[in-house]
Symmetry: C2
Subunit: 358 residues, 2 copies
Amino acid sequence: MSRRVTLKEVAVRSGVSYQTVSKVINGQVQVAPDTEARIWQAVRELNYRPNYTARSLRAQRSFTIGYSWRPSPPDQANPILDTFLQSMFHAAEQRGYYLLCFPYHSDTQRQIESYRELMETRRVDGFVLSGVEYNDPRVLFLLEQKFPFVAFGRSNPDLHFPSIDVDGGYGLRLATEHLLAQGHRRIAALAWPEESRVGNNRMEGYFSAMRVAGIETMAEWIQRGEGRYAFGYEAARRLLALPAEIRPTAMVCLNDYMAVGAIKAVQDGGFQVGSQIGITGFDDTPIAQYLTPPLTSVRQPVWEIGERLIALLLNLLEAKETAQEFETILMQPQLVVRASSRKADQPDLIPKEVMRDP
Amino acid sequence: MSRRVTLKEVAVRSGVSYQTVSKVINGQVQVAPDTEARIWQAVRELNYRPNYTARSLRAQRSFTIGYSWRPSPPDQANPILDTFLQSMFHAAEQRGYYLLCFPYHSDTQRQIESYRELMETRRVDGFVLSGVEYNDPRVLFLLEQKFPFVAFGRSNPDLHFPSIDVDGGYGLRLATEHLLAQGHRRIAALAWPEESRVGNNRMEGYFSAMRVAGIETMAEWIQRGEGRYAFGYEAARRLLALPAEIRPTAMVCLNDYMAVGAIKAVQDGGFQVGSQIGITGFDDTPIAQYLTPPLTSVRQPVWEIGERLIALLLNLLEAKETAQEFETILMQPQLVVRASSRKADQPDLIPKEVMRDP
DNA sequence: AACGTTCGTGCGAACGTTCGCATTATTAGT
DNA sequence: ACTAATAATGCGAACGTTCGCACGAACGTT
């Protein structure tokens, strides 16, 4: 851990004042070509790197972005975390920023304290939020404090802040239309409770696709509960126990875990998943493709979301955009069709135009 | 984003010099009880928080730890990332530190540059490494630079640095012994290439358990390849194609993805997983318990590892330990027994003492 | 009564930058 | 040749802390 090279040493070597060196390095002033050359050479020879802390102190910016997320339960891993984080790291690095990650506290009070601490100690210049919900306390707090942030996900329509969200409605519409194209008419939905903003968005796609197809959805087809394996299993059992005339032949699920539970219930009930009962998930969990049968699922453009969130936030911080985008940017997910939703196991048997997008 | 409260303002309000306030806050000096009370009251009233950047500049420490990890391929999520990160965040927060996460570059040169940049700009006080291998360039670099770090995983035996590793050998020994207790004799292993340090450690457990049981392992039983689904599938097919007298009746796999592939191959081959062919994985991927049949797997004490790594590093940084532990701390994983390795599907049918630990 | 000790507090400096303005050197315009 | 404008560089201050040392008061000790 050798002693650091400072501006002054570079200045001595290149025969100018250290302030001039600073200005040249930051491109804030024009100097004689040979002076500039001498300075850069000294920088290289001494392997000078600006002390980030000193720079932050003076410039009143930390070049750091804060991020925290709700940990997933141990039996239900977050399928996009790794990619999401890496995409943000890369986007930030390119513009000289880093990400500071901090623990998630479920207690609202403590959670807000975490954010307050980081902003008031000037450790971060802005935040990225994810999984925002209606009346999210973090959103309310940061808006009130006028502290820069961007969010993955929408909140109340009357709260205005830059955010990116996946068009979950579109995703579910794709899934539903795909099942319709397979010939299914009685399509059930394994959904989240009505309070879930994300859940409601997704369900809109299901309802609209059914409406367009001229099918009246039955209340019994909508099963709401926690998005877990156990709920998926139970909900699917209930659906299969309905009288044959109204018993669904397909189920769209709001996430993969419910879908996995549903697959198991369907198989335990003696039905064939895919050829008899079509099932789709959401998230395209990595292991989904290795299930038996492989799970059809909706995949989010995670990498791009991370990149764009960071770009949005940095533009905000560097005030590049005078007229800022405070509306939600919607990104389109894609449907990955696999055997769990196909009537025939051979992909070839399905007409191309149906496979692409019904 | 209101103007910040500084030490001086607290000092004015409590009627002492700002340096005294600093010392009281940091507990570096004893003052008269009423002075101390006045100071703390002023701190509370003004809601003072030390400016972290200024503190870092003066103290020459950033109270920040750097961490970077190799991203998992999109079809094969890192099952422990979320927990591992959160455990480190919590442990660090308790001692006033945060984690700075930065992108992983597979190009060695650029990777080292990332580490160099962070240490030379004084942005971090130390690093946590994970997934270290033989002659890991990061380890060599940091040792040479004498920069503090700890690692999850071992490297060359002759390189001395504080690290924690999971006793993968013990894990595989548990798995192997469990299969032996189920009556299996011909047990195969789906392993990684011989260059893998982690892989070799794990395999030792397999070999030792077989040796203790008095079974000579056959070269054909050891399948080495990439730890992915496709390899697991192919390797299992090859094993099932062996002549009946030497065909394995069980397989231990070095990770869950290979195990999932193996399960599929076994089922495609017309065998029953569990009752006929026993299979075990490693990592206890969240979805493992929802497979058909649920997968027996080795689970690592991830949370505890994260906590202890941070504790180790912070002790190093704060020089609490004069005689530092530079040896690898080994942590014991546990075997989670599920149906994929049980002869009978009813847990009750298996003798208690066998279930616990053969 | 003079003298160490301890306790409580203050002072100046330093950490390594960036920023605004002042100063000097250079060139162009009359 | 004299001033005005421009280009190139320097200077002092500031960002908000922490650190080492010094200083005065109160205290007990010989």
